[in-house]
Symmetry: C2
Subunit: 250 residues, 2 copies
């Protein structure tokens, strides 16, 4: 789990930009989506930050994250309004100029009826110098990639379409395999034994996830590894622990 | 929106701790809950971070956040298993010792039947020196507060009970009032005018939130201010812009 990019490991951070998430007015749906998607293609999401629509905060977060991970993804703040300051902030973070991009302008011109590409809409064609565009099948106004940073929209349907568009361009890691074991027990009943299994199988990552349902506590144990044989052995060990503890309770 | 604690402003950051959120296996419910709750009581949530169950990452994030905000809240990693390392990490962040706390131990002893307070469960009584306990009405094992950092459980029902327990101890700011205006228009149709209203009313924060529903784009404009009169004036201005633009489209 070290931060170094060891062989086969591809890592990511996700920066969510938007006052509306921090005020609770909008409930974020992009974190769960991206987390699950990256895990499925073998990229480890290692950190998420949510920051407000304030230029210095965006610049600071992007520059804190991009040296440490293979990829950084952002969502939010690339629409046409005064509070959409992500593109300008990313340009500032990279220290490059930003202006209306001819490729982005052409996409918008082709999309809107003649005369409808207003000044506000043209803001969506502002792209930092040196960036590549990310296709937006839903509403056309593109995202962009600069360095290892992928800048996407905040509206979930558009963000998801952009993720689909960029995934073929990403280097993906060795996929992490996982198995889960459900225990009808509170996690404290099996915690010590699960810790021992973790020690015995250092090439696995074992998580213990308690749940409260109808006032009853149950636990899901998730075992993850890049190696299928080790995964199977560790899973069998967890299953044995859960079986024994369950029989003792019965 | 400056970071300084100006008169009446109370700010917060939220640190979510857990591999299961970053892998997408668990969808976070605590961010939306806490964001809405803090807004309601007049505390500005300014930043959220999600980090894995890795000691250095937790220490780094806590120490990065706590000097900058009135309060820091954390969720996750205070259960009985080997991957529950939040309490030890917080102690390390503050540079204080940690051990089984007599008050926390007494709570657990009173809760479990004789002989059931196992070594694993006793881990949940590990509290950094100098911390105060946070009551847990759901499953007893307490959270704690040290300095301006409030450490809570990750299971949403327990986390929510802990928030209820600590809110009476928090300093709260002047409540931010808000009004929203729904526009049956894509945000680009009104973006420039809304930006002008923002300029005219610097004591408001105006957000424009596009939505895609059934292939149609609509917009919600949210106007926020601590001053009720200014809020009413700015809202009326937004309503006039939306009305005019809607009539032009009709």
């Amino acid at each position: 789990m070290a931060e170094e990019q060891s062989d086969g490991e591809v890592t990511a951070a996700f920066l969510v930009i938007g006052d509306e998430i921090l005020s609770g007015r909008t409930k974020d749906k992009n974190i769960g989506f991206l987390a699950e998607y990256l895990t499925a293609i073998g990229i480890d999401l290692r950190e998420v930050r949510i920051v407000p629509d304030i230029r210095e905060k965006i610049v600071e977060a992007v520059n804190a994250l991009r040296p440490h991970y293979t990829y950084v993804f952002t969502s939010g703040g690339i629409g046409p309004t005064h509070d959409d300051i992500t593109a300008d902030s990313i340009a500032a973070a990279f220290g490059v100029p930003i202006d209306v991009d001819p490729r982005a302008r052409a996409i918008l011109e082709a999309h809107y009826p003649p005369g409808q590409l207003t000044e506000a809409r043209l803001r969506m064609a502002r792209i930092p110098q040196g960036a590549n565009l990310i296709e937006n099948k839903v509403s056309k106004a593109p995202g962009f990639r600069i360095g290892n940073v992928h800048v996407m929209a905040g509206v979930p349907s558009i963000m998801q379409a952009m993720v689909d568009a960029i995934v073929p361009t990403l280097k993906t890691g060795t996929k992490i395999l996982s198995r889960s074991v459900d225990a009808e027990l509170p996690e404290s009943r099996i915690a010590l034994q699960i810790g021992e299994i973790q020690d015995r199988f250092p090439q696995t990552m074992i998580g213990s996830y308690p749940r409260a349902q109808d006032g009853r506590f149950t636990t899901q144990i998730v075992i993850r590894s890049r190696d299928e044989t080790i995964l199977a052995e560790a899973t069998a060990a967890v299953e044995a622990v859960v079986r024994d503890a369950t029989n003792q309770s019965a």
